[in-house]
């Protein structure tokens, strides 16, 4: 008994330690690249702040994907639910202020989730087909509703509604200033960490904090409560869950509703924080990127956070200057080479060679050019996801009954 507990705690220790190491090494590498290429923008507080803003909607969508898929429902309708969320946020914020606006965004996303749940759980429609339909319906409905409602509003037009009040921002006075001073020194490592701290303590939106908190809350609920265990069992083996007295339909419904609400909150973030108003087509495929972040993260909260941060960071760099995008190449090359070395250590020779070759190619690209077309970064999330799938597909483990339709009474 005690031996087993001891063993478990070492596993926990090892895991947290390895996350810590990976994080430290990551910051070290970025810092190294910043100094080598002399692009301070790479970790400037401005960049980090932009990265956080770019991360949040992706993160919310990814969390939505996690909830649905853990219960065995593939939700590619995230994009549509997000679009509904942008409209909901605009409408409710205009009338009742930003916090009700966020609730409104969640509510509209939840309506999208409800549609998806009715189609897939009750009627057994193919999850992809239903998801695509929801995306079309979501985009169509938001456009229609905007045209019907917003032109009458102050600051509104058929395709936008500007001047919405944003949720409050917070600053932690002393920390913020100190971090600012340190990050301006451009020291190796220390200044980079300071930039991150500065971004996190200066004018950060409470909605961002809420979304980050939701990652932790989701992890706790899904993995530490019996509710979460039941929900996950529906994604792993619904027949077995049924024979143990779990109401599978109910749990799938709850999961997909939560999923839609989270995507809606992501949409709300776009309308209220990332920009100062609603405009049609504002999501720009972030629902899909959220799904990619979730797959990248191996259907786990920590992983999808890493995925969303990666995509958010590259996305924010794109918006700043081309010089930093070029530096990004060096970062990718070093990352790939390190990954190759790690694989070689684990004696996965073939995999190591493939990754090393890719790393060498990117390195050559970095050395032989001095700028990268901006458009390149737009595809980063997709390219990264494909890379992860290609390299790690054997280690990725999605819920076993994910995307399969389930009928009551089919057990045995």
């Amino acid at each position: 008994m005690s031996a087993a507990t001891a063993q478990r705690s070492t596993i926990v220790e090892r895991l947290t330690k390895s996350w810590l190491y990976i994080g430290l090494i990551g910051i070290g590498v970025v810092s190294f690249v910043r100094i080598i290429t002399d692009t301070d923008d790479l970790t400037g507080a401005g960049t980090i702040r932009a990265a956080i803003i770019a991360t949040c909607p992706i993160l919310a969508a990814a969390l939505g994907g996690l909830w649905a898929e853990r219960a065995g429902v593939v939700n590619i309708g995230l994009e549509g639910q997000m679009i509904l969320g942008t409209w909901g946020a605009a409408f409710f914020t205009y009338h009742y202020g930003p916090w009700v606006g966020i609730l409104g965004a969640a509510l509209l996303g939840l309506v999208g989730g409800l549609l998806h749940a009715i189609a897939t759980v009750t009627f057994g429609v193919d999850h992809i087909v239903s998801g695509v339909a929801i995306n079309l319906i979501g985009a169509g409905a938001a456009t229609y509703l905007a045209e019907a409602v917003f032109p009458e509003y102050e600051g509104g037009g058929p395709r936008q509604l500007n001047g919405l009040e944003a949720p409050a921002q917070v600053t932690i006075p002393g920390v913020s200033d100190l971090a600012n001073t340190i990050s301006d020194q451009h020291w190796f490592f220390v200044s980079d960490v300071a930039s991150v701290i500065q971004a996190l303590t200066t004018n950060i939106s409470t909605l961002s904090l809420l979304i980050f908190a939701l990652v932790i809350i989701s992890a706790l609920v899904l993995w530490r409560t019996s509710f979460g265990l039941r929900l996950r069992s529906c994604g792993e083996n619904p027949q077995a869950a049924e024979t143990l007295g779990v109401n599978v339909y109910l749990y799938k419904y709850v999961a997909v509703l939560i999923s839609g609400a989270l995507a809606g909150i992501g949409g709300g973030f776009l309308a209220l924080v990332a920009s100062s108003g609603f405009s049609t087509g504002q999501t720009g495929g972030r629902g899909y990127i959220g799904l990619a972040a979730m797959i990248f993260g191996n259907w786990r909260p920590g992983g999808l956070l890493a995925g969303a941060l990666t995509f958010g960071y590259t996305d924010s760099l794109r918006l700043r200057d081309t010089q930093s995008v070029h530096s990004l190449l060096l970062l990718v090359a070093i990352g790939l080479l390190m990954f190759a070395a790690w694989r070689a250590c684990r004696k996965q020779v073939k995999g190591a060679l493939v990754v090393a070759a890719a790393g060498a190619l990117v390195m050559a690209w970095f050395l032989l050019t001095d700028s990268v077309p901006r458009e390149f970064t737009v595809m980063t999330p997709y390219v990264t996801t494909m890379f992860v799938l290609a390299l790690g597909s054997q280690r990725l483990r999605m819920p076993a009954a994910d995307g399969k339709s389930y009928r009551r009474g089919s057990a045995g």
């Binding site: 008994m1 087993a4 265990l229 039941r230 069992s233 792993e236 083996n237 024979t243 009474g409 045995g412």
Partner: protein, 502 residues
């Protein structure tokens, strides 16, 4: 505590599926504090009846009375509330979840989902000798461990009426004895057990009452104190009880399969198989005896190309096949009966004829050039259904709708078609009734006379002794003893399997 009210009364139960009457006019009465055995041939309707009692399926007619109260069970939840627990014929486990998670699912209120549950699982595991580690992923468990987990799940919940649908099909005699010991204790504590098995010795050993089913209805009862195996078999199928006697040896001199010093290590560098060497000649059956989890599954998967040995060599005839893929091996004439038919043998939602094509998708009669030959495949499926007595409404029914034993017969028929040169058989008669078991043995013997080499892994020692020309005992990934089936007794094998002096 044991009252005189009957634990369960089933009256006039009927259940129809498209094209089949699975149950009609079924009457069963289970006395409190007894083990009640339900026997009957494959497809007789035993599992269907149990699913009705557990609320998975609703009966079309009839009434269910549990402990004196008439109930309508709309879902397993209601059955669980009424005190019923069930171990299904096919495993109901989530592979990606741990033993603990599978165990507490649905019963989180009892001991929580953390350390309380962990302690309770350890207690059950220790008490009943189940050897279950709560924090292992179920994916890593072999069939016998899964079976023990399924039984432990029911014990954990503390059900008063316990249904066990073929819990012993993959357990070796020692494990069966341990299980029976538990059942007697449960019985003494006033619980009732419904026990389904095709192994009549076990039924006679444990049951207080026996009910026989045939063609969807109850056809009689037997008294285990006086009945014999022969009588039970006759009641079930109306035929003689077969005995797996082997005739004169058909072993030739041509080596069909040989393994030399095959070692397999897992990702942590532990040896799963250590320096295994064996040869099987044409016309020879090599039996592998062992408690499950000692390397049988790994050995079979290594030969089938599902795992690549870390070192050593595998020869099929005179070809080195160590690094061949499963498809190449199958095309070279290896038939494979997997240990878990639902995980590896079938597409449950595909019709029988499509299942016939699996593993034969590049060979006639299932294909013609690059095209699937529908007509050929369908015709050959009809042949298997007739030859192996697969009871099914038609070859277009999905294989999920077949009873467990009939699914098994279909797989055996498929793997024996196309004249294989080597058959790798894991528990080939798992879950089939005595009549069908004899028929499958006959098929194997006939093929052996024509030169088929067979590697037979089985938990059924009578089957091993009856069919094999040589028996190897495997323990912790090594062969620890070779036995001649004509002189060995099940007791000897049992001792060797657990590491006692051979």
């Amino acid at each position: 505590m044991p009252s005189e009210v009957d634990a369960v009364q089933l009256r006039g139960i009927g259940k129809r599926f498209p094209g089949v009457v699975a149950n009609h006019d079924v009457d069963v009465t289970i006395r409190p504090g007894t083990v009640h055995a339900l026997i009957g041939e494959n497809g007789a309707g035993k599992s269907t009846l149990m699913k009705i009692l557990y609320g998975v399926q609703r009966p079309d007619d009839g009434t269910i009375t549990i402990e004196g109260k008439q109930v309508v069970l709309k879902s397993p939840t209601e059955a669980i509330e009424a005190g019923v627990g069930m171990v299904f014929q096919h495993f109901m486990l989530a592979d990606n979840l741990t033993v603990l998670e599978n165990m507490v699912l649905g019963a989180e209120k009892l001991h929580g989902i953390g350390d309380g549950a962990r302690t309770e699982i350890r207690r059950i595991s220790e008490r009943f000798g189940f050897d279950l580690d709560p924090d292992v992923l179920v994916e890593k468990l072999g069939v016998a461990a899964r079976q023990r987990l399924e039984i432990a799940k029911v014990l954990y919940r503390g059900a008063r009426i316990i249904i066990l649908d073929e819990p012993t099909a993959v357990l070796v005699p020692q494990e069966v004895d341990a299980l029976f010991e538990n059942l007697r204790e449960l019985k003494a504590a006033g619980n009732s057990v419904l026990f389904i098995s095709h192994k009549l010795d076990e039924v006679l050993a444990i049951a207080d009452d026996i009910t026989v089913m045939r063609r969807g209805t109850t056809v009689g009862t037997a008294d285990p104190a006086t009945a014999t195996k022969h009588e039970l078999a006759e009641l079930m199928v109306g035929s003689e009880l077969p005995s797996p006697e082997t005739e004169e040896s058909t072993v030739t001199d041509t080596v069909q399969l040989s393994l030399s010093d095959v070692t397999l290590t897992d990702e942590f560098g532990r040896n799963l198989l250590t320096d295994l060497s064996l040869t099987i000649r044409r016309g020879e059956v090599l039996g592998i005896a062992g408690v499950e989890g000692n390397g049988q599954a790994e050995l079979v998967e290594t030969i089938m190309g599902m795992r690549i040995p870390t070192s050593g060599r595998i020869m099929l005839g005179d070809q080195d096949v160590t690094h061949w893929h499963t498809r190449q091996l199958r095309e070279a004439g290896i038939g494979y009966i997997p240990e878990d038919r639902h995980r590896h043998g079938l597409l449950l939602d595909a019709p029988l004829w499509e299942n016939r094509i699996l593993g034969h998708q590049t060979r006639p009669p299932s294909s013609k050039g690059m095209w699937i030959n529908r007509k050929g495949a369908r015709k050959d499926t009809e042949r298997i259904v007739a030859d192996y007595d697969v009871r099914a409404p038609g070859i277009d029914t999905p294989s999920r709708a077949l009873s467990g034993g009939n699914q098994q017969k279909l797989i055996v028929g498929r793997e024996m078609s196309g004249d294989p040169v080597l058959l790798i058989a894991s528990h080939p008669t798992r879950g089939v009734d005595v009549g069908a078991q004899a028929a499958i043995w006959d098929h194997i013997k006939r093929a052996r006379r024509n030169g088929l080499a067979v590697l037979l892994v089985s938990a059924d020692l009578d089957e091993l002794i009856g069919l094999s020309d040589t028996i190897q005992v495997i323990l912790r990934g090594r062969f620890v003893g070779t036995f001649d089936p004509s002189s060995v007794t099940p007791q000897d094998l049992g001792t060797a399997m657990t590491g006692g002096a051979a």
